[in-house]
Amino acid sequence: MDKPLKKNPLSLQLDPNLFQPATEEEKAQQIVTRESVSFMRDAMRRLRRNKISMACVVILVLMTLAAFVLPSFYPYTYAQQDVTAQYLAPMQYSQKELAKISQGISVFPHLMGTDSLGRDYACRVIYGTRISLLAGIVSAFIVVVIGIIYGAISGYFGGKVDMIMMRIVDVIYSLPDVLIVILLSVALKDAISASKNLFIMQVGAGLISIFIVFGLLYWVGMARQVRGQILSIKEQEYVLASKSIGASPARIIRKHMIPNCVSVIIITAAMQIPSAIFTESFLSFLGLGVSVPMPSLGSLASDARSGLVSYPYLLIWPALSIFLIVLSFNLLGNGLRDAFDPKLRS
């Protein structure tokens, strides 16, 4: 180490200075470590980068705004009939309206045309969208709340409690849910027409029975998922480690268990919504849903059948609306699932 380094005349590219030891800072510079982010933030970032998912979020937000805010500003209502303006094509004006325009009065165009009773169709479709979104979101909410509580209790306590609770889940799981929804709707429809309560009448047999059935039956999927997550987390070594350094159960649940459940909860909830929307529109199509004159995308589609050939747009608009909503939720659900997949962590 003390002998001076001789210059080798044949390999001049070897500068003896290069053979001085490297300092720690120089070594550290070579390493580019990636900043570690929390799981949730990493997932959110990945979701944001997914263009399709972001487009879906935008569409859904716009549709929600349109469905809940627009009707207050809209010049027409969903029940407003005008026998002189029946079956107008989109953007078409009736004779009476044309007369008004020539007089200088502005008439808001029927963006989607009118139906058999001269009701502005755009307005009805917007209301129908509102019903669908309501069905989806409230159902998802019910499922999430009941499912999490049930699943967490069952998973956390384990043992006999868990066994009994899961047996109940098994039985409920094996019941044919759609049949029961239909059954309830049939039963409720009758009960509702007897009731004088305005709110119930507006919301309709369909929605109420959907909410009831979701509350009674559909949460089992979520409960199972949450329970499964809790059980596997309980066994994880980091929980054991936490316990062994004296962390309280509350802290363990909060810090370790919940974050791991959140992804499962969000994804499962996102998948529930299209199912609820389908069910609602299905019931309305059969006449078991909202009460006339409140429109649902399903009842609009059903009504469109008379006059289908002559006025196809009566079917197209509500069909497009459902398709857009459900497609957006489905794609968003896919995007969420990819975003939360730990194997894709970059």
Binding site: D170, V171, S174, L175, P176, D177, V178, L179, I180, I182, L183, L184, V186, A187, D190, A191, A194, P274, F278, S281, F282, F285, L286, G287, L288, G298, A301, S302, A304, R305, L308, V309, P312, L315, A319, I322, F323, V326, L327, N330, L331, N334
Partner: protein, 308 residues
């Protein structure tokens, strides 16, 4: 394998029977909670007439007794008499309606399963390339369309506008559109299921082993991959049946097919509660038995499943 398998099957059967019982109970008590009578809606009848009719059908006895009687009857497949179609038994009507629904339903199911598996496998094998992309786009779209929309659109375009196929079920070739309408959603669903299952399997170590032994690609896929990729699809069989049964309610309505679904809707509209109960229970039994069969079949196909 024998003894444990038998235990498993018996347990599942017991569960199925319990579920059927629950279905009957729920159906019965729900229908009987309806305030109005099945007779009150039709042409104004005097209360005396209604009372007489109710006595004839046994509606005047206390609910509990009615339920027990009903249970006894159902056990021998006597679902009672229809009130809307006077003179016909509920079961008789169910039988004739079931014939059509079964034909359409089974055809739709078969198409959905066969095409779904093939398309899903193709998509998995051509991952990332255009066949896969097309399959993914199309299935995502199909899965976002409810059955009644699909049926009505098909009716409009294929039948009424293009006039390629008849619009009514009892005309020759009239079954085609109902079958297609019912098969599209399950087919898309199965395709996606199969695709993800196949991709999963293709990434497994034993596929690598098979490759390292020098097996041909075709053999690897058909022998090693496919058998493993099939089981998730089997779990969808139950939900698929439920979908087809309920979907038939709208599809038969739209295409005027005299099947069970249309029967159910009509009996609802005409407040024939015996009919509604009968059909619901019948369909319920079908669904539960199908779930039972798939549970057992799944166990046969993959011996590792937990025998709980």
């Amino acid at each position: 394998m024998g003894a444990r398998f038998l235990m498993y099957t018996l347990k599942r059967l017991g569960m199925a029977i319990l579920t059927i019982f629950l279905v009957i109970m729920i159906t019965f008590f729900t229908m009987h909670a309806i305030p109005s009578s099945p007779f009150s809606s039709e042409k104004a009848k005097s209360n005396a007439t209604i009372a007489a009719l109710e006595a004839k059908y046994g509606f005047d006895k206390p609910v509990g007794i009615q339920f027990l009687n009903y249970l006894k009857d159902v056990a021998v497949l006597d679902f009672g008499l229809s009130t809307a179609w006077v003179g016909s038994t509920v079961f008789g009507l169910i039988k004739s309606g079931f014939y059509y629904s079964a034909m359409i339903g089974l055809s739709a199911a078969l198409i959905a399963i066969i095409l779904g598996i093939i398309l899903g496998a193709i998509a998995a094998l051509t991952r990332g390339k255009w066949p896969d992309k097309i399959v993914q786009v199309v299935t995502t779209a199909l899965v976002s369309v409810p059955s009644f929309v699909m049926a009505t659109v098909l009716l409009l375009v294929i039948s009424l506008q293009l006039k390629w196929l008849p619009s009514m079920g009892n005309q020759p070739g009239g079954m085609v559109l109902p079958i297609i309408s019912l098969s599209l959603y399950p087919m898309a669903y199965i395709t996606r299921l199969e695709r993800s299952s196949m991709l999963d399997v293709l990434g497994q170590d034993y596929i690598r082993t098979a490759r390292s032994k020098g097996l041909r690609r075709g053999k690897i896929i058909f022998k090693h991959a496919l058998k493993n990729a099939l089981s998730p699809v089997l779990t969808y069989a139950g939900p698929m049946l439920a979908y087809i049964l309920t979907g038939s309610m709208v599809v038969e309505n739209i295409f005027s097919v005299p099947g069970l679904g249309r029967l159910f809707v009509n009996s609802m509209l005409r407040t024939d509660y015996m009919m509604v109960m009968g059909v619901t229970i019948f369909l319920g039994i079908l669904i539960v038995m199908m779930n039972f069969l798939t549970d057992v079949l799944y166990k046969v196909m993959d011996p590792r499943i937990d025998l709980r």
